[in-house]
Symmetry: C2
Subunit: 164 residues, 2 copies
């Protein structure tokens, strides 16, 4: 079980977009900040936009910005935008197979095994739902020093990248 | 993020092997019980054996059996045997990239984002670690009726499958 690499990129982008000026940031500029391919980053930003977490602003000073406050965007929102919200464990109703199969009418309730797996996923989701992008940004301030995110934000707002 | 289908098979096999007689069960017989390809099932049983959760007994009445009591095998043990124990979220140190990169010496502690993701996975693992195969079997008794697992176990112990 492996999360897509896009999760790390999307979370970093949301955290940096959450701090300081609210000016939209072009994909090319974000890509420069992280020294990554703009095409690759654009794919993940489009997933965030599709889920309504960021929006694209057109025009000369266009780019992406958060659609709402960082308090109201959870880490789970971002993970879901990238990964989709399908369950990690999918029950194929093994119990209804073969010579000792349970009857379909006895299988209204999820299987004991499925319920354990679903509860564990809910614990995972709940942990990600409890933390907002604002919380993460505050923690970066604590750990990396108050200046780190502000510096990145100023860098983003400075000279536009060539061809942005 | 999707768990392999083998997780559901492996858990069902461990639960059924945990009940009743302790006689080893041939792969072919387990495959018949679930009406699934023996080759497919064998692959997952081999993963369980590689992690020491089941063992293969040779001979005419050979087959697989649990190596230890069902109380001492957790759902997490089984999931790990199938999925491996790699983390779902892998931090590639994005924070150390580009013009605003954090210095390596400031990155001894995991990134704020990575720590949230790691904590969520630990919540997931912990939920799976809290439930033993015995707990699951007891729950099946409650939900599907006390007879269900015993019936399957008797069926497994009955006539050997052709070519088992
Ligand atoms: S039938 Fe799917 S988990 Fe048991
Ligand atoms: S650097 Fe990897 S999660 Fe932040």
């Amino acid at each position: 079980m492996r999360l897509s690499g896009g999760v790390e990129w999307a979370l970093h982008c949301c955290v940096v977009l959450s701090r300081g000026v609210e000016e939209p940031v072009p994909v090319a500029r974000l890509a420069e900040l992280y020294d990554v391919s703009p095409t690759y980053l654009a794919k993940h930003l489009q997933s965030l936009a599709a889920d309504g977490l960021i929006e694209s602003v057109r025009g000369k000073r266009g780019g992406y910005r958060l659609t709402r406050s960082a308090e109201s965007i959870t880490v789970l929102d971002v993970v879901r935008a990238i990964e989709g919200d399908g369950a990690a464990f999918v029950c194929t109703e093994i119990r209804q197979r073969g010579p000792c199969a349970a009857a379909a009418e006895d299988c209204q309730r999820a299987c004991s095994i499925a319920r354990v797996m679903i509860a564990a996923e809910e614990a995972w989701r709940s942990a990600l739902r409890d933390v907002s992008i604002r919380d993460v940004a505050d923690d970066v301030d604590r750990v990396a020093g108050k200046g780190a995110l502000t510096r990145m934000r100023s860098w983003l707002a400075a000279a536009p990248s060539i061809g942005a």
